[in-house]
C-alpha cells in the first residue's frame, strides 16, 4: 500500500517537473527569448509593452552572472535570441565568449551615439546610469566635485563606498585607468582608500544610509538608487533626504557613465523578432519606460528625463568611449587587489 503511495507521489513529482519544463517551451513562432542581467521584475513592464505593440511574446531568464557561459555551452541549440546587460563588463565578456553577432540596423546607428556602442556592432547601449557622489546636505557645502578630488586628504575618514571589485566600481576605476594610465590610477585608488571611513561593504543604498547616520560625509553610488529611495521606497526616504546628489566630473572631462546594453545572440533562432525587440528598446516607448520606471538616462536624444533625475543637474557623459573602459577592467581589478582596497 505504502509502496503504491510512494510510486504515485514519485509520478506526480515527475509529471510536475515536466509540466514546469513545458511551461518554459521555447522557439515557437511569434516569440523571442531574452537572457537578461536586469532582473525580470524590473524589465517585465518593458516586455509587456513590447508584446502589446508587436504581438511577439517574450520569454525571459534572468541571472546575476554566467549567462554568456550558458549561451556558449548551449552552443548551436541555444534558445537565446537577445542578451540584456546592465554593465559594460558583461558585454565585453559576451563578446570575448563569442556568443554574439553584429547587429546591423540603420535605425540603431541613428539613435545610439558611436561612443555608446561597440565599433563592430556587437553591443549597443540603450540606457545610461552615472556613478556619482552622494553628499551630506548638512556637512558638505560644495556643490561640485571632481573624481580626482576623492583622493584628496581633505576627505580623510569621510568617504563610504561598496567593494572595489563590484562591477560598478570596477568600471569607474577602469575609466580612471583608461584616462590616466595604471601608475596614476594606483595612486588615486590608494588615496581614495586612505580616505575611507570604513572597510568597503554593503551596497549603494547603505552608502546613503551611512551618510545619513553620520558615519561618513560623502559616498559613491549610482544615480537611480537615490531616485528610487526618494520616490519608491518610503522607509528609505530619510536616507535620500539627508543627502544630495553631486554629478562629479573628471578634470577637463565629464561624468563617468555605465551602460545597460543589448546584444544579439550568435545562434538566435528567432532573429527577426530579436531585431524587432532590439530596435523597439531604443525607440520612444521603451526609452520613456527606462527614464520613468528605472530612473535611467535614456540613450535616445529628446526623451524627457524623470524629474528627480533631471534635478541632479545636466549630465555631461565623459567623452571616453565605453569600449575603452571595458579594455581596462582587468587592470582596475588588479589595482584594487594590489592596494588592498577591500581589506
Amino acid at each position: 500500500m505504502s509502496r503504491i503511495r510512494d510510486l504515485s507521489v514519485a509520478t506526480l513529482g515527475a509529471v510536475s517537473v515536466i509540466a514546469i519544463a513545458a511551461s518554459g517551451a521555447v522557439a515557437q513562432s511569434g516569440e523571442v527569448n531574452v537572457y537578461t542581467y536586469r532582473e525580470t521584475k524590473l524589465i517585465q513592464p518593458l516586455f509587456d509593452a513590447f508584446t502589446k505593440d508587436t504581438g511577439v511574446k517574450v520569454n525571459v531568464i534572468s541571472a546575476s552572472s554566467g549567462l554568456e557561459q550558458r549561451i556558449k555551452t548551449e552552443g548551436a541549440n541555444s534558445p537565446a535570441d537577445v542578451l540584456l546587460t546592465v554593465d559594460i563588463g558583461r558585454m565585453d565578456d559576451a563578446v570575448k565568449a563569442e556568443v554574439s553577432q553584429p547587429i546591423k540596423s540603420a535605425k540603431l546607428d541613428e539613435i545610439v551615439p558611436p561612443r555608446f556602442r561597440d565599433p563592430d556592432g556587437h553591443w549597443y547601449g540603450i540606457s545610461m546610469r552615472a556613478r556619482v557622489v552622494y553628499a551630506s546636505k548638512e556637512r558638505v557645502k560644495q556643490d561640485t566635485i571632481s573624481y580626482e578630488e576623492l583622493a584628496d586628504p581633505k576627505w580623510k575618514g569621510k568617504i563610504c563606498i561598496r567593494s572595489g571589485q563590484h562591477i560598478y566600481n570596477n568600471a569607474l576605476f577602469a575609466a580612471y585607468v583608461a584616462k590616466y594610465g595604471e601608475a596614476k590610477a594606483e595612486e588615486w585608488i590608494k588615496g581614495l582608500k586612505a580616505n575611507l571611513a570604513q572597510k568597503p561593504s554593503g551596497g549603494d543604498r547603505e552608502t546613503a544610509r551611512d551618510i545619513a547616520a553620520g558615519k561618513c560625509d560623502i559616498g559613491i553610488a549610482n544615480t537611480y538608487y537615490w531616485a528610487l529611495m526618494t520616490n519608491v521606497e518610503a522607509d528609505k526616504k530619510p536616507w535620500a533626504e539627508a543627502t544630495k546628489v553631486i554629478l562629479p566630473t573628471f578634470a577637463g572631462g565629464g561624468t563617468h557613465v555605465n551602460l545597460s546594453g543589448v546584444m544579439l545572440a550568435k545562434n538566435s533562432p528567432n532573429k527577426a523578432n530579436a531585431m524587432k525587440l532590439i530596435e523597439w528598446l531604443a525607440d520612444d516607448n521603451a526609452q520613456k519606460i527606462y527614464a520613468d520606471m528605472n530612473y535611467e538616462y535614456p540613450i535616445k536624444a529628446g526623451i524627457a528625463l524623470n524629474p528627480t533625475i533631471a534635478a541632479y543637474g545636466r549630465l555631461n557623459p565623459d567623452a571616453l568611449p565605453i569600449s575603452k573602459i571595458a579594455e581596462n577592467r582587468k587592470a582596475a581589478s588588479t589595482l584594487v587587489d594590489k592596494v588592498g582596497f577591500d581589506n
Binding site: 517537473v17 511551461s23 532582473e39 548551449e74 543604498r205 588588479t334
Partner: protein, 554 residues
C-alpha cells in the same frame, strides 16, 4: 524459493545497488571533472598576482570565518542536542520542532536582516537613541558588516546541521553506556564528554562538514558583510579578471583542501568502531531536571532558535505585511512557490533514494569502487554552487546533443535542449549538490548499526529487501528524516545554480528574492523569503515529530 534461487536473487540485488551507487558517483563527479577541464586551460599572468595580493588575505579570512562559524555552530548544535536528548524540562516539546527552524533562513537573508536591524538608523539605533544622543548611540552599535558579524550570523542560521546530526545520535544512544559510565563514578557531564561525544563523532563530523562547506561556498552573505573569502575571490577572478580558467583553478584547489580535511578526519578515527552493541536495544532515559536547572536549560535552548529563526522571521513578517498591504499579493509569487516545492521535493526524493542505495551497496559489498562512489558523491557540496552549475552545463548539453544527433539520424525533428533547457537541469543540479547531505547523514547512521544484525538476518534466511525494510530503514529513521529535512530546505534556499540553470519563464521563491536583493532592496522580497520559511516549517515540524523517540523502554 530454493536457497540457490535466493542467492542468485540476492546477488542481483547487490549488483543492482552497487551499479546504481557507482552511477551516482559518476553523475556527481561529472560537473567537477568538467570544472577541472576548464582549470587545465592556460592562464597567463594570474597566479603571481593572486599569490601576492589576493590569496594570503582570502585564505586567512576564510580560515577565521570557518573557525568561528564551526565553533559557534558546534557549541549551539551539540549543546542543544545533548540537553534535549538527555533531560526533560519545560518547553522541551516545543524546542524539538523549533530547533531546526533556522535552516529555513538563507544565510544572505540572515545577513540582510541583522544588518538592517543593527546598522545606523535601524531598529537598534533608534532604540538606543531614545536615551542617548545619536552619535554616542552610533558608537554603541555592533559592527555587523564585519568578520565577527558574519561569524555570528552564519553560525546562528547554520547550527541546525550539527544539531540534527548530533541529535540523531544522542537520542538513539544505548542506556548501557550511560549506566556503565555512571557505575564507574562519572558525573553527567563527564559521561557527555567521555562517552556520548566520542560516540557521536562520525555524525558530528558530517554535520560540521556541512556547516563548513556551506560557509565556504557562501557568496551572498560574505560579500554583503564585506568578508573577502576564497569564494569571493573566485568570482572576482572570473568576472573582473575575465579568467574562468583561473576561477576554476582556485575552485579545484579549494576542493583538494576539502577532500584532504575530510580524509584526515576519517583517518583520525580509522581504528575505532562506533556501532552500538547488538544486544542492547534499550535506549537511555531522559532525566527530569528540577529547580533552577530546568529554567536555565529552557532559557539557553531557546536562544539559538530565537536569534537564528524568530528574529528574522518576525522581521520578514512585518515587512511582508507592510508591503502586501500596499502592493497586494502577486499571483506569480504563488506560482514560484509551487515551482520551488515541486523541484525541491523531486530532488529530495532522488537524493534520499540514491544516497541510501550508495550506502547499502557499500555495506553489502564494500569494495574500492563502492567506497569511492560514496566519497565521490560528496564532491558536489565542496564547490561553489554557481561554479558547479557552470560545470554541469557541459555534460548536460553533451547529452542533449547526443539525443539530437540520434533524432536527426532517424529522421525525427531534433528536440533541442531537452535536459539543459528544462527544469530537469535544476533538479539534477540540486541532486548533485546535496547528495553529500544524504550520503553523509545516512553513512553516519549506518555506522551505528551493528553488523551482527545483518548476519542474523542472513542466517535466518531474510532477503536483502527484507533486511533493508525491517532493519536498516527503522534504525536509520532519525538519520533519514534529518537528511530529508536538510535536503528539502537546502533545495528551497538554493540560489546560484537555480538562477543560472532554470528554463525560460520559470521563477522559484529564491530567484524571486534575488530579483529584489540584487538591487539592494531585499525587503521587497520579504514575502518570498517568508514563503520559503513557511514551506520549510511544514516538513521540519512534521518530520521532527516523528523523529523524537518516546521516553521509556523501547
Amino acid at each position: 524459493m530454493s536457497s540457490q534461487a535466493r542467492s542468485i536473487a540476492s546477488r542481483a540485488a547487490e549488483r543492482f545497488a552497487s551499479t546504481l551507487a557507482i552511477l551516482t558517483g559518476i553523475a556527481v563527479v561529472a560537473p567537477v571533472v568538467s570544472i577541472a577541464l576548464t582549470a587545465m586551460q592556460p592562464v597567463s599572468d594570474l597566479w603571481p598576482h593572486l599569490l601576492s595580493y589576493v590569496l594570503p588575505r582570502a585564505t586567512l579570512d576564510t580560515a577565521l570565518l570557518l573557525l568561528g562559524v564551526g565553533t559557534l555552530a558546534t557549541a549551539l548544535g551539540v549543546g542543544a542536542a545533548w540537553t534535549i536528548s538527555s533531560y526533560d524540562f519545560p518547553g522541551r516539546s516545543s524546542l524539538i520542532w523549533l530547533m531546526p527552524l533556522p535552516l529555513a533562513i538563507p544565510t544572505y537573508i540572515g545577513a540582510y536582516v541583522y544588518a538592517d536591524i543593527f546598522e545606523p538608523l535601524g531598529v537598534a539605533h533608534r532604540v538606543l537613541s531614545l536615551g542617548l544622543p545619536p552619535q554616542p548611540a552610533l558608537a554603541l552599535l555592533p559592527g555587523v558588516r564585519s568578520l565577527a558579524g558574519a561569524i555570528v550570523i552564519i553560525g546562528l542560521v547554520l547550527y541546525p546541521y550539527v544539531y540534527l546530526s548530533a541529535r540523531a545520535m544522542f537520542q538513539t544512544q544505548s542506556a548501557e553506556f550511560a549506566e556503565a559510565a555512571r557505575l564507574l563514578g562519572a558525573r553527567r557531564w563527564q559521561e557527555f564528554v567521555r562517552v556520548s561525544l566520542p560516540m557521536a563523532r562520525p555524525a558530528l563530523a558530517v554535520g560540521l562538514a556541512l556547516v563548513l562547506l556551506e560557509t565556504l561556498n557562501d557568496i551572498g552573505a560574505s560579500e554583503y558583510l564585506g568578508v573577502r573569502t576564497l569564494t569571493v575571490s573566485i568570482f572576482t577572478t572570473w568576472l573582473n579578471q575575465g579568467s574562468l580558467a583561473g576561477a576554476a583553478q582556485i575552485s579545484c584547489l579549494m576542493l583538494f583542501a576539502v577532500v584532504a580535511l575530510v580524509l584526515l578526519e576519517r583517518y583520525g578515527r580509522r581504528l575505532r568502531a562506533f556501532a552500538a552493541a547488538a544486544e542492547s536495544p534499550r535506549i537511555a532515559e531522559r532525566t527530569q531536571l528540577r529547580g533552577a536547572a530546568r529554567w536555565a536549560a529552557c532559557g539557553l535552548c531557546f536562544m539559538p532558535p530565537l536569534f537564528g529563526f524568530a528574529v528574522p522571521f518576525v522581521y520578514l513578517a512585518c515587512e511582508s505585511i507592510q508591503r502586501s498591504l500596499i502592493d497586494g499579493i502577486d499571483a506569480a509569487l504563488l506560482q514560484a512557490a509551487g515551482n520551488s516545492i515541486v523541484l525541491a521535493a523531486t530532488a529530495t526524493a532522488i537524493v534520499l533514494l540514491l544516497g541510501l542505495t550508495a550506502n547499502v551497496a557499500n555495506r553489502w559489498r564494500g569494495s574500492a569502487s563502492t567506497a569511492a562512489s560514496l566519497g565521490a558523491s560528496q564532491a558536489g557540496y565542496a564547490v561553489p554552487g554557481l561554479i558547479l552549475a557552470l560545470g554541469l552545463l557541459t555534460p548536460l548539453v553533451a547529452l542533449d546533443n547526443i539525443v539530437n544527433a540520434v533524432a536527426r539520424s532517424i529522421g525525427a525533428t531534433a528536440p533541442g535542449l531537452l535536459i539543459a533547457g528544462s527544469s530537469a537541469a535544476v533538479v539534477i543540479a540540486y541532486s548533485i549538490r546535496f547528495m553529500a547531505v544524504a550520503t553523509g547523514l545516512t553513512q553516519a547512521g549506518f555506522e551505528r548499526i551493528p553488523r551482527d544484525y545483518d548476519d542474523s538476518a542472513k542466517v535466518s534466511g531474510a532477503s536483502e529487501w527484507t533486511c533493508v525494510r525491517r532493519i536498516y530503514l527503522p534504525l536509520l529513521r532519525p538519520a533519514l528524516w534529518g537528511a530529508a529535512i536538510l535536503v528539502f530546505v537546502d533545495c528551497l534556499k538554493e540560489l546560484p545554480a537555480t538562477l543560472l540553470l532554470r528554463p525560460l519563464n520559470v521563477e522559484t521563491l529564491s530567484t524571486s528574492i534575488y530579483q529584489f536583493a540584487s538591487r539592494g532592496s531585499f525587503e521587497q522580497g520579504s514575502l518570498a523569503a517568508l514563503l520559503i520559511v513557511a514551506a520549510s516549517i511544514v516538513p521540519v515540524v512534521w518530520l521532527t515529530r516523528f523523529a523524537d523517540v518516546p521516553n521509556g523502554p523501547a
